[in-house]
Symmetry: C2
DNA sequence: CCTAACTTGCTTGCTGACAAGTAAGCGAGG
DNA sequence: CCTCGCTTACTTGTCAGCAAGCAAGTTAGG
């Protein structure tokens, strides 16, 4: 399981930028895989292809490295949200079709960024260094809500409804990915295959269609208050 | 945050049964709150109102204590599923109404058993001792699927559909509870209040209604294959 | 140019803290 | 007095953090 150093180290020795990035990535992997406590700075250094002391040298302390890793991860998420919004708005399709695309995007994102998911999940469980990055989450969260509202054509008043929709979207797309080796097989699915992912996308889209605004024929006594 | 010992210790000294139970409960709390690595046997002993060495004395090793905690938790979950099934079947209502009750049960269960949720989540992240309790999960998982199928009146053929439904139900009910201090506020909800829980129940029920079988008027080109 | 002084990137040795596991001990009941 | 329940001391290992050191450049002085 211990993969060899990321850099075969011919390109250049003594490149601080490169080393910082390698440590950041190694830290993200190890914190995500093993958690904060179980990850030693020595292991991070080795995984980054450097010595055991280097993470401490660049980041000062384990807590600071962890914080840097989180910042990086949240920045990536923000970027993904913005890219998705651009794409959805350019396509100019009706909400129901956009929704299918958004679901697909979310499912693909979590499949492509398992480390991010696990970091977030561990944060939610109260791991990591003492201080929680409330501001980081806040920024990403509100951006996601506004993006989703715009993409699906919700009116500004319906923000609470969009919040519920986003929460459900996150739950439906993140949760199975997080539990793909435990709960998902326990329920009876045999290993998350591409077919499973496709079926999930269809299932999730079907469910969430029930939360779109102003679909005629839905009595919807739910006023989101 | 460090609550005082569970037992004020007047009742009886030297009661192995009682001590075992106290250690099991303290272990469940601490493993759930802080994770496997961050929890020391000494802390478990103190939280149980005993000395540092007692958990080791009764359970041999940290890994064995953890395993015992997990077994206990899974047994509780199984019991809840069976009780819910009994209740639903006795009520003899149409699927759509039963669904609302099941959603409510799940939401209430996770609100009442935060430790269980967290333990499961940590397990999914690969924490805990090396061996994973596949058989425990398997038992609970298949029981949950059959219970849900029976409660909602799905035909035996539609098992895959029920599996998707259960996965979505778990996602929608567990996920917000796990993230109630991080993601949920970040999205914009102000603290999981009773009102929030009620709104969530309605929202989730609405969504999942779209996955019930043979509701007339739903074209449902989804065949769950 | 050539080299000496200095800076920067990185490694290695050390220390103190803490935890798991073990074993010896101790008090209370039967 | 002997076993059961429980505690305490000890051993061993690990890790974070620090500090000294070393080597690859970089600058400056002749």
């Amino acid at each position: 399981m211990s993969r060899p150093p990321a850099t075969p180290l011919p390109p250049r020795l003594r490149d601080a930028e490169r080393s910082r990035a390698a440590i950041l990535e190694a830290g993200a992997e190890l914190f995500a895989e093993q958690g904060y406590e179980a990850t030693s700075l020595a292991a991070v250094g080795v995984r980054a292809g450097l010595s055991r002391g280097t993470p401490g040298y660049f980041f000062g302390s384990k807590a600071e490295l962890y914080h840097a890793v989180l910042e990086h991860a949240f920045a990536d998420a923000l970027e993904a949200i913005r890219a998705g919004r651009l794409r959805a708005m350019r396509s100019a399709r009706p909400p129901a079709e956009v929704l299918a695309g958004v679901v697909s995007d979310y499912v693909d994102f979590v499949a492509a960024h398992p480390n991010f998911l696990r970091l977030i999940q561990r944060e939610a469980l109260g791991e990591g260094a003492g201080l929680d990055p409330r501001s980081l989450r806040q920024a990403v969260g509100s951006e996601a809500v506004t993006a989703l509202a715009q993409e699906l054509g919700f009116p500004p008043r319906a923000r609470t409804q969009v919040m519920h929709l986003l929460l459900s979207m996150l739950a439906l797309t993140w949760f199975p990915a997080l539990h793909d080796t435990t709960l998902v097989p326990a329920i009876g699915f045999d290993r998350p295959s591409p077919a499973f992912l496709a079926a999930r996308k269809r299932h999730i889209t079907t469910l969430l269609l029930g939360a779109l605004p102003s679909r005629r024929a839905t009595p919807s006594k739910r006023s989101a208050r």
